[in-house]
């Protein structure tokens, strides 16, 4: 199967073995000249299967993913590898847009980024729209970091083919008491490096680090429970200009 798609403003021609890739990326089909090509082979599927086994254990890793699903992941990885060449990088987080600005919540897996953006959607209704619930791309376009939806969007495939300028990144940790504070980029850096896609190539890695260094947005640290008042607090603070610690 060979088709052209446009992810994060970059046209890509994908030649895949299975049609599942096309179905997965259908919304991103594009009529135009690709900037680069992605090919997949059996070795790519074997590679992804091995990685799944490393993460989930031998039996589960083999059982839970079909070759079609592994190919979708292989395509994602090849795309993510190339992004730094186009001034972008994939970032592990839940990205939501409100009033035309993007907010990304990031945390270790299972902490509650998706839950938090779901609370924002419940609270804000149509004022909010999901950009991508798992792997948005941050890409600099005329020096502005834009957050893009991609077809790789987590368990519920929550994503939209839109792009909004990044306003803030928020690191979430669980706590009983809700608290948020704005932090310096310096404080956020270890998390940013941890949550950005890490290229296999050194050049790609160094470019990613350079792009992270360029980020001139707000950074927050949020300690919260998974209740509505946590979302009310985070939205109130992140959507306004505040400099002090705030507690709920």
């Amino acid at each position: 199967m060979m088709n052209v798609y446009c992810f994060a403003g970059v046209p890509v021609r994908i030649q895949s073995m299975y049609d599942a890739v096309n179905k997965h990326c259908e919304e991103y089909r594009f009529n135009g000249i690709p900037s680069f090509d992605i090919y997949t082979e059996e070795t790519d599927i074997d590679f992804e299967r091995k990685k799944a086994q490393e993460i989930y254990g031998l039996e589960q890793g083999s059982a839970i993913w079909t070759a079609e699903e592994l190919e979708i992941i292989a395509v994602y990885r090849k795309f993510a590898e190339k992004m730094p060449e186009y001034d972008g990088f994939v970032f592990h987080g839940s990205a939501i847009a409100v009033d035309g600005k993007a907010y990304i919540f990031t945390a270790k897996s299972g902490v509650g980024k998706s839950t938090h953006t779901r609370l924002w959607r419940e609270m804000l209704g149509t004022q909010a729209e999901m950009i991508n619930d798992d792997k948005p791309v941050i890409r600099f376009e005329e020096d502005v970091p834009m957050v893009h939806g991609t077809p790789w969007a987590g368990k519920e495939s929550l994503s939209k083919k839109i792009a909004k300028p990044l306003r803030a990144i928020c690191i979430i940790e669980r706590a009983n008491q809700n608290r948020i504070c704005e932090i310096s980029k310096r404080s956020a850096l270890p998390f940013l490096f941890q949550q950005a896609y890490r290229p296999y190539s050194r050049t790609g890695l160094e470019k990613t680090m350079k792009l992270i260094d360029q980020l001139d947005v707000r950074f927050y640290h949020l300690w919260c429970n998974m209740e509505r008042n946590a979302a009310e607090l985070s939205y109130r603070i992140m959507s306004e200009i505040k400099e002090d610690n705030h507690e709920d």
């Binding site: 310096r186 270890p190 490096f193 941890q194 890695l205 260094d213």
Partner: protein, 89 residues
């Protein structure tokens, strides 16, 4: 010994970050201060623990703290070794 090509250093003010490429088994980030910065810089070329200690003693006034310097270097190198960042014969 020296730092592997698969590890890259990022500096912001007086903080240094050592980050591996995606293919490394270490998936974290090592963060260090100015001392770590000098150690990482020294490890760009093939060197030894003793040479690094000697260099730090030369660069800073460490009178009365020689053992601390040796200990700091030893611990830093051990950390780098543990995460697979060192290329050693």
């Amino acid at each position: 010994m020296k730092i592997k090509e698969d590890f890259s250093v990022f500096q912001m003010e007086n903080e240094y970050y050592l980050i591996p490429t995606g293919g490394m088994s270490f998936k974290g980030v090592i963060k260090g201060n100015r001392t770590m910065g000098y150690i990482l810089d020294a490890l760009k070329e093939d060197t030894t623990q003793e040479k690094i200690v000697a260099k730090l003693k030369e660069l800073f006034d460490v009178s009365g703290h020689e053992e601390d310097v040796e200990q700091d270097v030893k611990q830093a190198i051990e950390k780098l070794r543990m995460v697979g960042a060192l290329e050693e014969d």
